[in-house]
């Protein structure tokens, strides 16, 4: 208790010299935002905090730590200290047993950082080791850089402990969350941070948002705001910009479907292609440079001698006039230097569906219709493949086009509002995707895992198994096929938590091992081969469809069923593009 009081006094004294630019003060503001309800109120708090900061660099870092992480999104840098490294370092700092004590605590709170904060605050060993001292936001960033440079797990472990020995428990909690890159999980995301910046610097939120799209970074956006240079947020070729994303059609009500145009949704990989006569670069959806994985594509675009151009589109394997299943494209994804054999076996094309930049002119602000007109002209002159668009008058058109899209090897349909501008992120109803689940399986629950965050304190993540009882390759009765953590209602989850109690046979930290007893029908987007799993397959985005209280484990689907589903997908009849065109190549 006395140690705790000393801690506060100590930092208070130092606060006078360092003022509000300290990392500790940042953490206190963030905690206050976490404890405040409503995104407007949260944004107001952050705005008034930002206004108290005088150094440009502090403002930049405050925005970065609150919304991006230790490093800016576009830097490609990460601290890369694994969850386990952090947790083990914390347990050893607090002198507690990691497996027995730490894991039990994390299960109870559902959050490692919250657990560590409390242990640091409560345990005498942890209190006596810590002599908090104030540091600026810049000094905090330096600590993240040191951690990044430390290559070994042992080194990171040592360094983390050294850093924590000079921090309050609150600083430690947020230091860990910031280290994880991404949101701080306090209900205060990029969108609210942008609004806060707009308020703090009396700018139009749309202007700030635009700067964020162009720079891809909250830190740079904050800097431009502060320096009153938002208008300089200009697009640069070979710097990727954030992608526009589609919302599932189920979640939206559409007033006038004829305001939309349909495109087939290709079963490939989203890609932003930057090109001019000297250079070509390909960027994935998470803004990583993937040019090296597709040298054939890059070479092909280089020969076109395009003026400065940015295209948004899809990479697909295209062979024998057919768009091939995603499973084949997977064989090329992630390869840093694909062999000529692989390239020849799985040739890819780029199908453009949007034009974002052309000859020194950004087109984001133009309507889809206008951008497409420019795209077609460009495609004609430079022989580019472009998605085909289909008018829709009513929902029966959507169904007809959807079925045809599937027959030609596509995933479904995209509906795009003809008057929409290009804006990053999910923008209401501008783009909608129409998809069907890739399939469903009846599985048994094998393990239940304690939920985290919002679901802390309940068992909300489930490892699901399929039967291999009659399979001579396995000795077990069931093997895992995937992990699902959604698709059920709160009520169903409660019932599930009750029903699993009598089935518990073992417990490993936050995980219960269960006797086969509960059957869950899951649906998923796709099946992929994955040699590292016991089943040899993984499901993409598995989720609960229904809890089958009416079925018993004997009714569960088998590995043979999974194999069959996979080969159906791989060998499914795909119609040739000679019969109907999903895209046009000029």
């Amino acid at each position: 208790m006395t140690a705790e009081k000393d801690e506060t006094k100590n930092t208070d004294n130092l606060a006078d010299s360092l003022g509000k630019e300290s990392f500790h003060h940042f953490c206190m503001v963030i905690q206050q935002i976490a404890e405040t309800r409503g995104s407007l109120a949260k944004a107001r708090l952050f705005a008034s905090y930002i206004k108290t900061l005088s150094h440009n660099r502090s403002i930049q870092l405050a925005a970065q730590f609150a919304g991006e992480g230790a490093f800016s999104n576009v830097s490609g840098r990460r601290v890369s200290a694994g969850h386990r490294t952090v947790a083990v370092a914390a347990a050893s700092f607090c002198e507690i047993d990691y497996d027995l004590v730490f894991k039990a605590c994390r299960t109870a709170t559902g959050s490692a950082s919250e657990t560590i904060e409390k242990l640091m605050e409560n345990l005498p060993a942890a209190i006596s080791k810590r002599k908090p001292s104030l540091r600026s936001l810049e000094e905090a960033e330096l600590l993240f850089s040191h951690l990044e440079k430390e290559r070994t797990r042992d080194g990171k472990h040592q360094l983390l402990q050294q850093i924590w020995s000079e921090m309050t428990s609150l600083e430690i909690k947020y230091f860990i969350r910031i280290m994880g890159q991404g949101s701080l999980r306090i209900g205060f995301e990029s969108k609210s941070i942008i609004n806060a910046l707009a308020t703090a610097f009396a700018k139009e939120p749309e202007e700030v948002r635009y700067a964020h799209m162009i720079t891809g970074s909250l830190a740079s956006t904050a800097k431009l705001c502060k320096e009153d240079r938002l208008e300089e947020a200009r697009f640069q070729l070979f710097q990727p910009i954030a992608f526009m994303l589609a919302s599932p059609i189920e979640s939206r009500s559409i007033e006038d479907i004829s305001a939309y145009i349909a495109e087939e949704k290709f079963d490939g990989m989203r890609c932003q292609l930057h090109a001019n006569s000297q250079n070509v670069k390909l960027f994935s959806r998470d803004l990583n440079d993937i040019t090296n994985s597709f040298p054939d594509l890059a070479a092909n675009y280089k020969t076109k001698n395009l003026p400065d151009t940015v295209l948004d589109g899809e990479i697909c394997v295209f062979k024998s006039d057919k768009i091939q299943p995603f499973q084949l494209l997977q064989k090329r994804m992630g390869l840093k230097k694909p062999s000529s054999v692989i390239i020849a076996k799985h040739p890819v094309i780029f199908i453009a569906y949007d034009l974002l930049y052309y000859s020194g002119k950004a087109l984001f602000d133009h309507t889809l219709q206008t951008r497409r007109q420019h795209l077609h002209k460009l495609a004609e002159s430079f022989s580019i493949s472009v998605s085909k668009q289909f008018p829709v008058a009513d929902t029966s058109d959507v169904e007809r086009l959807f079925d045809r899209a599937l027959a030609f090897g596509n995933e479904g349909l995209m509906l795009k509002h003809k008057q929409s501008t290009y804006e990053y992120g999910q923008r209401r109803k501008s783009w909608l995707k129409v998809k069907k689940p890739g399939g469903s399986l009846d599985t048994v629950i094998m393990y239940a895992h304690a939920g985290s965050g919002k679901r802390g304190g309940t068992y909300s993540d489930f490892t699901l198994g399929i039967s291999v009882k009659a399979d001579e390759r396995y000795e077990e009765e069931f093997i895992p096929i995937g992990k699902a953590y959604g698709g059920y209602t709160d009520e169903e989850l409660k019932k599930l938590n009750r029903a699993m109690k009598p089935l518990i046979v073992d417990r490993f930290g936050p995980t219960y091992s269960l006797k086969p007893g509960i059957v869950v029908e899951i649906e998923f987007d796709d099946i992929q081969i994955n040699k590292r799993t016991k089943a040899g397959y993984t499901l993409r985005f598995p989720r609960f469809k229904a809890i089958r209280w009416d079925l018993s484990p004997a009714d569960a689907d088998t590995l043979k069923d999974v194999e069959q589903l996979y080969s159906q997908k791989l060998n499914r009849q795909i119609e040739s593009q000679q019969r109907h065109q999903s895209f046009i190549t000029y």
Binding site: R37, I96, L100, V101, T109, S111, K118, E121, G456, G457
Partner: protein, 329 residues
Amino acid sequence: MLSYKLEKNHGIILSKASLGLDVSGPVASHVFVSHAHADHLPRDRKMSVIATPATAALMRQRGFRGEVMELPFGETLDLERCSITLYPAGHILGSAMAGIDTEEGHVLYTGDYKNPPSPATEGFDVPETTNYFITEATFPLPIYKWKPHEVLFSDICAFAADSINDEAIPIFLCYNLGKAQEVMYALKDSGLSVQIHGAGYELCKIYESFGIPLGTYEKYDRDTLKTGKVLITPSSSLEQPMVRNIRRKRVAYVSGWATHEARRTQLTVDKLIPLSDHIDFFELIKLCRKLTPDMVYITHTPNPAVVEHYLANEGIAAMPLNLEVRDDS
């Protein structure tokens, strides 16, 4: 070793002493009820039990119709095969721990307890030592360490005052018995007028008759609940019209579980006030050290392993009494 039997999802029977502790029915010669929370009350509402006078009054208010042998704190009652002395448990009004002298040695059974005690109770006291310490451990991990009552009470007062300043009605989500009265006790000198859920209202009268001051309060009434007043109600009413229809409100969740940040989004409340009426991990270990028992039996716990581990480090033997999943044996 102590001879005992466990009831599924309920109490413990000390076989040699023929004494039931918070059991469901007349399963032994005598039955002790530690306090008036539902999970400790007998399901049989007509049997005969031993309890403190305050617990007896609360039990009767909650529908118990049987006979209660009222045993005040500090007095010893001699039974056929044991004698029993009650100690204040600091959990809610009337809550008692039982010190039991048996032919197997001295047993201290805690029921639910809190030390330092809630100021809205008779306090906390234990014997010097015991042979068998049967303790609850609702919060059995080192992440649980409660702030002093004064700190939490001033949080409660500040939350009420700030909400009223913003012209919102402060709502405290609390159990009707115990936590509700503790919050009222915290607010008693603030000059604020409290409305309390009907079921809790009747229990307040009993608190006052046993000398616990609760300030100015009245029964919840939709028509008179206006800005400037405070509402105290169980969290189950959060989704009911009673709370839903209040337009300008600020909601605080008052419970030991409020120490978990996840509760904020799970319940969508404005404030979490981690005021618990159970002992925290550190006080529990400290108490075990003081009592130097031959064996600690851990009950009412989601996870006995960590307490066992820490007690083992202190050289104190401990084992779980798993009332939740264990069958009678």
